[in-house]
Structures are given as structure tokens and as C-alpha cells.
């Protein structure tokens, strides 16, 4: 891999995000909370973030994820889509998910 060939991944509704192998979502029995472990940091995702992260399995497209989340939260798809893509772009930029 050369430096020049590396580009930023940008989220689209057709992306199939998957949690990176070095980012690990696990239940912490001491604190009774879900933790996302990454090379230098531990994240404590809230309920919505957790639902999105769990759908980052490489099979669901962002469009499908949005539809499932809209259904689950009885929300409008078009309304929540920018939030979902915003989250995913941020996590991609932090090297937590591959788009």
C-alpha cells in the first residue's frame, strides 16, 4: 500500500458497513454496560448508537438499516437517515467501521 492510494471512504445508502476487526463491541459485566473497544479508546455507545452498531454486519445496506431503525423507533425514514449516515461517516473516520 502506498500513501497516495489511500482515500477517505464516504458513506452512501448502498454502503454495507461492517465493524472493523480491531473494534470490539462487548458487554462489560463490571459496569453493566456495552463498551466499544478500539486501539486507544473505549467508547460507551448509547441505545441508538448500539442499535446502529449491531446492524454493522456487512450484510445490511445503510438504506436497509435506516428502514429497520425507523420501524423500531416508529420514526420517519427520511427524518432519521441523515443521523444514521452522520454516525456512520464519523465512525468510519474514526476507523471503527468499514463502509
Amino acid at each position: 500500500m502506498t500513501g497516495a492510494s489511500r482515500v477517505r471512504a464516504v458513506v452512501s445508502m448502498q454502503s454495507r458497513p461492517i465493524l472493523k476487526s480491531h473494534a470490539r463491541l462487548q458487554y462489560d459485566t463490571v459496569r453493566e454496560a456495552w463498551a466499544l473497544l478500539s486501539p486507544e479508546r473505549v467508547f460507551w455507545p448509547n441505545e441508538v448508537s448500539l442499535d446502529i452498531l449491531r446492524l454493522c454486519d456487512g450484510r445490511h445496506t445503510v438504506a436497509q438499516m435506516t428502514a429497520l431503525l425507523a420501524d423500531h423507533y416508529a420514526a420517519d425514514e427520511a427524518e432519521i437517515a441523515p443521523d444514521v449516515t452522520g454516525f456512520l461517516q464519523e465512525w468510519s473516520d474514526k476507523f471503527l467501521v468499514t463502509l
Binding site: 500500500m1 489511500r6 464516504v10 473497544l37 486501539p39 473505549v42 461517516q89
Partner: protein
């Protein structure tokens, strides 16, 4: 104590002080431990089990050079079994064939590889180790081939600050997800070598610009974490995220400390794992409780609105510069001793020789006795 003690999240395990490199800014204590003082495999395994029970989620396996421990794979396997995230911090010289792959197989999560220079000549000079650069490049390739994520760590000081753009290109070309541009902190060996390492103010300002521009340009391509130089700062760092707040470190002999330089505060007493359980040390050690929370603070920290942002800064720096471990970190602009930081920069710069070779380094060596007077440059 003003609040209950929460379980620790992170632990730095200095498995050994042995190292093939002799960097003059090593964060290890100036009095290094020989191999016969190191805790054995059973000791580390027992400590790691207790750490996981206590709530530790992330362990940095460091040194010295941790890969000199033949039992490293066994230690990683234990941590992986307990779901603890493992980060191996290595200089990456002389790692035998097959070991990186074996660690990945055992469940290692991440590797942080140091480069002392962006070019071979610098790396060799700073680490006092011939051929080190090529070996590190080879290690980086093997890490990526093993499918492990890679962080490149570049400790920055006067002798390699101009190479910051080249460090960025190097890390990109090696496929690193992350690059740490870490300005040397003046504790341990770096304090001893402060005069030889201190950068010029203009060079620091150029460096900040270069890093900020690269962080913007490389968003989503490579993360660049910047550890700013304390002596040029306005506010101190929240050292260790606050004393004994969510992290601690363990020395090669099993001594448990709130931070890697805490031994420089001679009034503190530290317990060894084995004599006490880890849980007892975390909760009851007088050294851990000495600067926990905010009730120990003096003015200006005591009435400062930033007291729970930076937690008073670095206790060891307060000790080194102010001669009082419970004083405000002099890196803080509110410290009455803040001007001394600037004076120490100027003294270091004015006494440096015309050529910039690091001949004046006191290279890190085990068994060397040294005298320290940190309050004068």
C-alpha cells in the same frame, strides 16, 4: 475523597526494562531494573486475571521492549480469553519469524510501533542502534500482513522535529491507521537529557501547523494524534486522565503505580502486586489516594473551573519543576511558576552547541547511575 472510586479502564504493563534501543528520552525510570527483578509468567498471569476482574478493559503491553519476554504469546492469550483489549507497544527490532503471526493468532488486537526518525540515519542515531530503521520497516510489513491494525509512534524532540512531514508520509506508506506525533515529556531519561532535546519555539509552532493541516487533509484516511509539548503549553494535560482515576501502570517487578514516573515523588510508597491484591492497591494504596479527585489541590487549582478537565496536570512535573508534588503543574499558565518553563526552554536553547548532533545525549542504559537536578537546566 469527594467521590467513590470507580474501577480502572486501562493498564500499562511494563513487562521488562530490557531494550535493544537506548533512546535518551525513554519514559522508564532512570534506575532501570535488570532481568532478574522481573515478575515471572505466573505473576503476570495472576495480575492480568485480577485486572480483568477489577474492570480493566484495555492493557498496553510495553517495556522496555516487551517482545524480549519469551512468554508474551501466553500473556496475550490469557488477556484475549478474558476479553481484555491488547495493545503491544514495540520498537520492532529483532522480532523472530513467526512470532507476530503467533501473537495475532493468540488474540492480539493492535500493535504500536515506534520510529525514532523518519529516515534510517536519524532512527539509528537516536536509538543508538545500527540497522534499526530497516528492521522496523520490515516489522511494519509483517504486522500488516498478519492482518493487525498498526499505529506508528513518533517521539518528537529537537533532533527530529523537522522530520514531522516525513513521519506522516512514512506512516501512510506503511498502511498505518494511526500516527502519534508525541512530543517528548520531560520525565525519566528525557529530564536528564532536557538540554539536548528541547526544541526551539519556532520549530514547535511550525510543527503544530503541519500537524493541524495534515489532520484535516487526512480525515478518514489516517488519524493523527498529537501530544503537545508541555513546556510550550498554556494548560496542562490531564495526566493519565487524572491521578488514579481510570488507569495505572505496573513496573517489571510488579510494583503498581498511578503513572510511569510516579517513582520520582519520593514521599510516596508503592505496593507490589503479590504483597497486596490489585483491588486492594487500587482502592487502598496511600500513593493512589494521595492525589485522587480534587480535595488534595492547592490554589490556583482549588478554585479553578478546569480542575475536572486537567485534574491539576502532571504530579511528577509539579515535583520536578515546583519541588512540590501537590502544586499546580507549572505547564499551566495559572501556575505562579509558569514562567520557569519558558526560562528552562531559553536556557536549553542558549546553551546548545552550534551543531545539532545528539552527542550530548546520556543514552539509556541499565546499571548506569546518574544524578538529576531537574530544577536547573
Amino acid at each position: 475523597m469527594n467521590e467513590p472510586v470507580l474501577p480502572p479502564i486501562g493498564m500499562l504493563a511494563e513487562l521488562t526494562h530490557r531494550c535493544p534501543l537506548q533512546c535518551a528520552y525513554c519514559s522508564n525510570p532512570v534506575e532501570l531494573l535488570k532481568a532478574n527483578r522481573e515478575m515471572d509468567t505466573a505473576g503476570w498471569l495472576s495480575l492480568f486475571e485480577q485486572a480483568a476482574d477489577l474492570g480493566v478493559l484495555q492493557i498496553h503491553l510495553s517495556g522496555g521492549e516487551p517482545t524480549l519476554r519469551a512468554d508474551l504469546g501466553e500473556l496475550i492469550a490469557c488477556l484475549a480469553r478474558r476479553g481484555v483489549y491488547t495493545n503491544l507497544i514495540t520498537a520492532g527490532v529483532g522480532i523472530a519469524d513467526g512470532r507476530i503471526e503467533a501473537w495475532a493468532e493468540a488474540g492480539l488486537d493492535h500493535i504500536q510501533l515506534s520510529f525514532q526518525g523518519a529516515f534510517a540515519a536519524t532512527t539509528e542515531k537516536i536509538g543508538n542502534s545500527r540497522g534499526a530503521h530497516e528492521k522496523k520497516l520490515e516489522t511494519a510489513r509483517r504486522v500488516r500482513a498478519a492482518g493487525l491494525p498498526l499505529t506508528i509512534n513518533a517521539p518528537i524532540h529537537r533532533h527530529n522535529m523537522e522530520e514531522v512531514p516525513d513521519f506522516i508520509e512514512l506512516a501512510l506508506s506503511l498502511g498505518a491507521e494511526r500516527l502519534e506525533i508525541a512530543n517528548v515529556q520531560y520525565a525519566g531519561w528525557a529530564l536528564l537529557n532536557r538540554k539536548a532535546l528541547m526544541p526551539e519555539r519556532e520549530a514547535v509552532e511550525r510543527q503544530v501547523q503541519i500537524v493541524e493541516e495534515a489532520q484535516e487533509r487526512l480525515r478518514g484516511i489516517m488519524t493523527i494524534d498529537f501530544v503537545t509539548p508541555d513546556y510550550f503549553a498554556i494548560y496542562p494535560k490531564p495526566c493519565m486522565g487524572g491521578w488514579a482515576r481510570d488507569a495505572f501502570m505496573v513496573a517489571p517487578d510488579g510494583t503498581v503505580l498511578p503513572c510511569h514516573a510516579a517513582g520520582t515523588i519520593k514521599s510516596l510508597h508503592f505496593e507490589r502486586f503479590g504483597d497486596w491484591s490489585l483491588s486492594r492497591i487500587w482502592h487502598e494504596s496511600s500513593a493512589f489516594n494521595a492525589f485522587r479527585g480534587t480535595s488534595w489541590m492547592q490554589e490556583p487549582c482549588r478554585s479553578c473551573e478546569r480542575q475536572e478537565i486537567d485534574w491539576g496536570g502532571c504530579r511528577c512535573q509539579a515535583m520536578a519543576i515546583a519541588g512540590d508534588a501537590s502544586a499546580t503543574d507549572p505547564a499551566c499558565i495559572k501556575s505562579p511558576l509558569h514562567a520557569r518553563m519558558g526560562a528552562l526552554i531559553n536556557e536549553a536553547i542558549s546553551t546548545k552547541t552550534a551543531d545539532t548532533t545528539p552527542d550530548a545525549f546520556t543514552y539509556r542504559r541499565i546499571g548506569r547511575s546518574v544524578e538529576l537536578d531537574p530544577t536547573s537546566a
